[in-house]
């Protein structure tokens, strides 16, 4: 009986039951749900798939294979850590929606057909927006609405794509959607739409800005949940549907590169993390684009470790925001005195994301890089190498430096609460353990691998060179005053197009229309006036044609006429 339950359903149903618990126990209940669900998943592992007939369609609500399992595991781990981190939250709606979000994301990675995927896809969008609304500010409300419009838009594209795809092939199964050649130009319109829907959620260049717009507006704990699920669900969907799609390599490289420049100048440190998240997704997208077994392993391993260290970084910045009330780099600095534990955890996250040897990022990124080398993608390699230095800049150095070191802001606060420290500590231990002992992670990957990240000592040494010389460049820039000072400001991105340019255009168009209609009204009124005057002139009461001619003048005129004819006659 237990075995036939779809993964995620325990969390979804349990989330709806959370309000029944006493108020003080709801946070604990939210923590218990992913733990129970993980236990269920571990027993489920040998069930391959579950098929049902529904309205004449054959659906596969549950499909368990290696690709879905590894995402299932990491989503559970992330949910447990984030729920532990959120133990202080007393807002029931936040717990409830966070768990609906987690449950639907887990359900989505086990969905064997496109309709089930779509249903879960939409639940993740609808539930996660409450983690942004829960900040209860005007800005978060507006950002949440924008986020919702874009996420639901992605769902609409997905549904349209699914319907067209079903028309074409007559099957709803969610397997590889792209042809064996990996060429999108040969794909049908339906597949294109599905690709675009995944691309929005995956924050492809120009479709990315909902991420940097919305996540920094989420609550302290909400951002930790958000950082783990939505975009990695998109990575899973791309790995499932579009492995080896060559255009993804280019998209991925651009994704790794452009956010690093924005991250340099961004002042909101959680927004810096969002740009960094975007850059990390690029590495995974490159791996999926290459599509070899090693590259796909690299992309999946990267997603796995990324969820942990990115969560850890969001937790540490959340703790800073929770204790100091601000997350602007220009207001922070010197917090290591007040928050030594948070500082240490943040540094572990920073070293992991920068891919220092013996940290989790290294063992995952090396796989992708090896796949790039194996396929001899020279320009991709060069791009990713620049991006690696970029990661070091914004996540490796900027985040810890401006929050905990740098210029002392004078802020003195308490260390993060115990449950936050526990969540961060557990995540940090995982980051280090995976870095030291990558074997168990490799064993979970979709394809068997014999990769040994530490076999070539020279590889570790050159990686350390890259990172430490980058750190040296940072130190030189700061010492010479060339590093741009952090100022209270925001940076424009593509959101400017729909937050400023489009409203301006719409306003401009409305203004022109108003002018035209006003002008039109004026002109027609003027014409009408002339017409009326003409009519009045001729037909009006005093008009020429309407003048009453007195009988006397008629007699006179007849007399004149007769007289004239008489005179003419005599002549």
């Amino acid at each position: 009986m237990m075995n036939s339950l779809p993964p995620g359903i325990i969390i979804l149903v349990g989330a709806l039951a959370l309000p029944l618990l006493p108020r003080a126990l709801r946070a604990v209940g939210a923590l218990a749900l992913p733990i129970i669900s993980l236990a269920h998943l571990i027993f489920l592992s040998d069930v391959v798939s579950l098929e049902v007939e529904f309205a004449g369609l054959s659906l596969i609500p549950v499909r368990v294979d290696r690709l879905s399992l590894i995402f299932g595991y990491i989503f559970h781990i992330a949910a447990i850590l984030a729920a532990l981190y959120a133990l202080h939250v007393r807002n029931t709606v936040e717990h409830l929606t966070a768990m609906l979000y987690v449950g639907s994301a887990i359900g989505a990675v086990f969905a064997g057909d496109l309709v089930t995927l779509f249903v879960y896809w939409e639940i993740t969008a609808l539930s996660s927006v409450f983690l942004i609304f829960a900040s209860r500010t005007e800005r978060s409300y507006r950002a949440g609405i924008r986020y919702l419009i874009i996420q639901v838009g992605s769902g609409v594209l997905l549904l349209s794509g699914i319907l067209m795809h079903y028309q074409d092939v007559g099957s709803l199964a969610f397997g590889q959607l792209i042809g064996a050649a990996g060429s999108l130009s040969e794909a049908s319109l339906g597949v294109w739409l599905i690709f675009l829907a995944f691309g929005i959620k995956c924050a492809f260049p120009f479709l990315h800005n909902w991420l940097q717009d919305a996540y920094p507006q989420a609550t302290v704990t909400g951002a930790v949940f958000l950082s783990a699920f939505t975009t990695k669900l998109a990575i899973y969907a791309l790995a499932r549907g579009f492995p080896g799609t060559d255009v993804l390599i280019g998209i991925g490289v651009v994704m790794t590169l452009f956010p690093i420049f924005f991250a340099v100048i961004e002042n909101d440190l959680r927004k810096v993390l969002c740009y960094s998240l975007n850059n990390q997704l690029g590495f995974m997208v490159v791996g999926i684009g290459i599509g070899s077994q090693m590259a796909l392993n690299g992309a999946v391993a990267h997603a796995f470790v990324h969820i942990l260290y990115k969560g850890l970084l969001f937790m540490s910045m959340g703790a800073v925001l929770y204790r100091t009330g601000t997350i602007r780099a220009s207001d922070l600095g010197g917090l290591y005195r007040s928050m030594p534990w948070t500082t240490a955890f943040c540094i572990v996250g920073a070293m992991s994301i920068s891919a220092f040897p013996l940290f989790s990022g290294f063992v995952a990124k090396s796989l992708t890089m090896s796949a790039v080398v194996e396929g001899y993608y020279v320009w991709t390699f060069v791009g990713l190498l620049i991006a690696s230095a970029g990661v070091m800049e914004h996540s490796g150095i900027k985040i810890p430096y401006f929050a905990f070191f740098g210029q002392d802001s004078g802020i003195r606060c308490k260390e993060a609460p115990l449950h936050m420290c526990l969540a961060m500590g557990a995540t940090a231990i995982l980051c280090i353990t995976i870095g030291w002992v990558p074997g168990p992670l490799y064993a979970l990957l979709p394809y068997p691998t014999a990769y040994e990240p530490y076999a070539d000592l020279g590889h570790s040494i050159t990686q350390l060179q890259l990172l430490l010389f980058a750190a040296l460049a940072f130190a030189v820039l700061v010492r010479t005053g060339l590093y741009p000072p952090e100022k209270a400001s925001i940076t424009l991105d593509t959101d400017w197009l729909y937050r400023r340019l489009a409203p301006r255009w719409v306003q401009g168009i409305l203004r022109t229309l108003r002018k035209i209609s006003q002008g039109g009204t004026g002109a027609s009124r003027q014409t009408g006036r002339y017409l009326m005057r003409w009519i009045l002139h001729h037909y009006g009461a005093e008009g020429t044609l309407a003048r009453a001619w007195p009988t006397g003048s008629m007699v006179l005129w007849v007399a004149i006429l007769l007289g004239t004819s008489l005179i003419l006659y005599y002549l």
């Binding site: 690696s388 590889h459 060179q465 890259l466 010389f469 980058a470 750190a471 460049a473």
Partner: protein
């Protein structure tokens, strides 16, 4: 102090690379100090270019709040 430690760590790494060669897949990887130079130059360039970019796209915090 930290700066000096960083510089010495960098020097040690360059020496280590001479002892333990990296298995080079691309020809330039075997040039001594390639990764060191790459890291330094990349970060420098990223910050300088980012700063340029910032001049164009930085706005007041209440830019959108009208």
């Amino acid at each position: 102090m930290i700066f000096k430690a960083l510089v010495s760590a960098c020097v040690v790494l360059v020496i280590l690379e001479i002892i333990f060669h990296r298995h080079a897949s691309f020809p330039w990887e075997s040039w001594p100090g390639f990764y060191a130079l790459w890291g330094f130059v990349s970060l420098f360039a990223i910050v300088v270019l980012g700063k340029r970019l910032g001049r164009g796209i930085k706005r007041d915090e209440d830019y959108y709040d009208e």
